[in-house]
């Protein structure tokens, strides 16, 4: 990839480029040998693309359009990017609309009228004449000057530095404009690749280009796993699990870990709720009161209900009814202000937020707990591996101990499903079906905990034969309960059983 003689996609150059200069090659597309890996999920086909394959896919998209519209490939890329890689939209505008306007909007010179623009703007070049570069103000031979179709010409070294600043410091790839003041014509890839000499800058440019290609293409999504450079390509967008070559499974629609049975929208809402401060303010609402005069927040730390605000206002009030302390006098237990209207409203509001907090904490605790356990189960894999080796040294064959790994696999799946059932349940309104759902959830949870206990504690080399049957029975049971739960929720989606609280 760091070979010097490369370009992004010179193999599709349509040949009518104005620059006859040597084109540097940025990425050797042909040398990569893309292995088609179409994962076979029953109904949702997807492909995993490596960086090279992403570039190849981009090249193919450009090629597709180019066979029809016949303009330079680099111009096509700018146009496609302008339409967020929606080929149909580009074609539609290209043939139905005002082409001149289309090119202006996308900030490229109309390739069909290019020659006239060049003659208009470009100074007459004589072989031994010099031109002044508008950036370094040096008078240089015309051979050292270059420019885009807009006709603004600068020396190659200034171009190089200008592009380097844009790419490395501003992180701009798709939309680098000509260096001239108030000119918005975009620099195409062929020119960027030709004018930049540093391979590090070239590589960054490629990253920027491929990144924006993936980001704005609806049918592509980067694998969210850290340090993974693959992207997933689908044929239509749906909330379905996809698995990258790095083994990370995620939802194509939202990019989060695969979250069946809860839907993307509610999960996003849940994650936002967990992340932001709203729960902090809920805690404050549920556990503190405000001074009725200066509104400072007070947390009660003793038993006495006679409050004296410490925040300079020194108001004396009753913690229970929030009314002034005065009328309470000595006979506190007959607090006649207890049912007073304002105090009641305040108490109701507090009651409400306290209940909401309790409810949230209930679901959040269980969600977090399964998430935490799931992390520990990953540790379980290594301890199980040891046990499997130990068993093989006793009297079991390799194939006979595989049930242990399978059991941990199922345990992890169950934990993950359980985790998301609590998000689903948090937003679910009670009805007959939700009761059924909770029953399923309970069954799965208790079976999962049981399986977890077997795997973590109960296996010793003495009781192997005994426990094998137990573990196998339990994981089969867990697996079937998990399927039952998911199918029930899915059936509910189809039959519109679920009402939400949001």
């Amino acid at each position: 990839m760091d070979s010097e003689e490369e370009t992004l996609y010179d193999d599709i150059d349509s040949g009518n480029e104005s620059s006859g200069d040597d084109v540097d090659f940025a990425m050797d597309v042909e040398s990569s040998n893309p292995i088609e890996r179409t994962a076979d999920t029953d109904e949702y086909p997807f492909e995993v693309l490596s960086t090279e394959e992403i570039v190849q896919h981009m090249v193919d998209c450009i090629k597709d359009v180019n066979t029809v519209v016949e303009i330079p490939a680099t111009t096509t890329r700018i146009l496609l990017n302008h339409f967020k890689w929606d080929k149909e939209k580009l074609m539609e505008r290209f043939y139905d609309g005002d082409q001149e306007k289309l090119f202006t909007e996308a900030h490229v010179i109309n390739p069909f009228t290019k020659t006239s623009a060049l003659i208009k703007n470009r100074p007459q070049i004589k072989t031994n004449a010099t031109e002044e570069c508008g950036v370094c103000f040096m008078a240089l031979p015309a051979s050292m000057m270059t420019g885009l179709e807009c006709g603004h010409r600068f020396c190659t070294s200034c171009w190089g530095e200008y592009l380097t600043t844009k790419i490395m410091e501003e992180g701009v790839g798709q939309t680098i404009a000509c260096a001239a003041h108030a000119c918005d014509i975009l620099v195409d890839d062929a020119n960027v690749m030709r004018l930049i000499k540093d391979s590090k800058v070239k590589l960054k440019y490629q990253h920027l280009i491929t990144n924006s290609f993936v980001e704005c293409n609806r049918l592509l999504r980067w694998c969210p796993s850290p340090d993974c450079n693959n992207a997933i390509k689908v044929q239509y967008v749906e909330s379905k699990p996809v698995t990258c070559k790095c083994n990370h499974t995620f939802c194509f629609n939202c990019g989060e870990n695969w979250h069946d049975p809860v839907k993307c929208r509610l999960l996003r809402k849940w994650i936002k709720k967990c992340d932001d401060d709203s729960e902090t303010s809920n805690w404050i609402a549920a556990n503190t009161k405000e001074c009725p005069k200066c509104n400072v927040t007070i947390e009660k730390d003793g038993g006495c209900n006679h409050m004296i605000c410490k925040n300079s206002c020194k108001t004396e009030f009753c913690w229970v009814c929030l009314g002034p302390w005065q009328p309470h006098g000595s006979s506190w237990y007959n607090c006649n202000r207890y049912d007073e209207e304002d105090a009641k409203v305040a108490r109701d509001a507090q009651e409400k937020s306290r209940a909401a907090l309790q409810r949230y904490l209930f679901y959040c605790n269980r969600y977090m707990n399964h998430m935490q356990s799931l992390k520990f189960e990953n540790k379980l894999y290594s301890s199980v591996k040891e046990k499997m080796e130990e068993m093989q040294q006793h009297n079991m064959s390799w194939i006979e101990v595989q049930f242990l790994k399978k059991a941990v696999d199922i345990l992890c799946l169950c934990r993950q499903t359980l985790m998301y059932t609590y998000v689903f349940a948090y937003y679910l309104q009670k009805n007959n079906q939700s009761v059924l759902f909770e029953d399923n959830q309970r069954d799965l949870e208790s079976a999962t905990e049981c399986l977890s206990e077997y795997l973590e504690r109960d296996i010793t080399s003495e009781n192997l034969a005994d426990i094998k049957q137990k573990v196998q029975d339990k994981y089969r049971y867990c697996d079937s309960r998990r399927k039952v739960l998911l199918e029930h929720v899915h059936e509910g989606y189809e039959k519109d059983w679920w009402d939400y609280l949001d």
Partner: protein
């Protein structure tokens, strides 16, 4: 490389053919220049001499120079530290700096900003409000402020 060549030419051009009301004082250190700008005609700053400081970064002209007023200015787009809010002084995408813009272009633009404040993109919100809704009062204050703080240009 391109910085030094270009700066030498630019400064020579500024000293030999200065635009009206702009004086550039070259020093041995090319990265810091002192500039004087005289307030434009028919503006509250007319006849006042404003001292400015121009700092040229190493990556010039690929990144814009830093320009600020030393003399305090009462103006919607200039804050009390002398910083200037102007499109051309900022990098894209927020600003309009391009390497083809010369120091002369920039200084002329600042001079013209003195005469034509841009209240839609203010640095000093109160002054912008005043400029927009009570222009007479703004001009009175600006004139007084300029007289008190600036030197009289001869």
């Amino acid at each position: 490389m391109s910085k030094l060549q270009r700066l030498n030419r630019e400064i020579k051009r500024l000293v030999d053919h200065p635009p009206e009301g702009i004086i550039c004082y070259p020093s041995d250190n090319l990265s810091n220049l002192s500039i004087n700008i005289i307030g434009p005609h028919s503006s509250p700053y007319e006849g006042t001499l404003f001292e400015m400081e121009l700092e040229i970064p190493d990556r010039y002209p690929f990144v814009p120079p830093r320009l600020k007023f030393i003399t305090p200015v009462y103006h919607p787009n200039i804050d009390n530290q002398g910083r200037i809010c102007m499109d051309l002084l900022k990098m894209p995408p927020n600003g309009g700096w391009r390497p083809t813009i010369s120091l002369e272009n920039l200084l002329v633009a600042v001079q013209s900003l003195l005469g034509n404040p841009n209240p839609d993109d203010p640095l000093m919100v109160d002054i912008a409000e005043e400029y927009r809704y009570n222009k007479q009062e703004f001009e009175r204050k600006a004139r007084l402020h300029a007289k008190e703080n600036g030197k009289l240009s001869s």
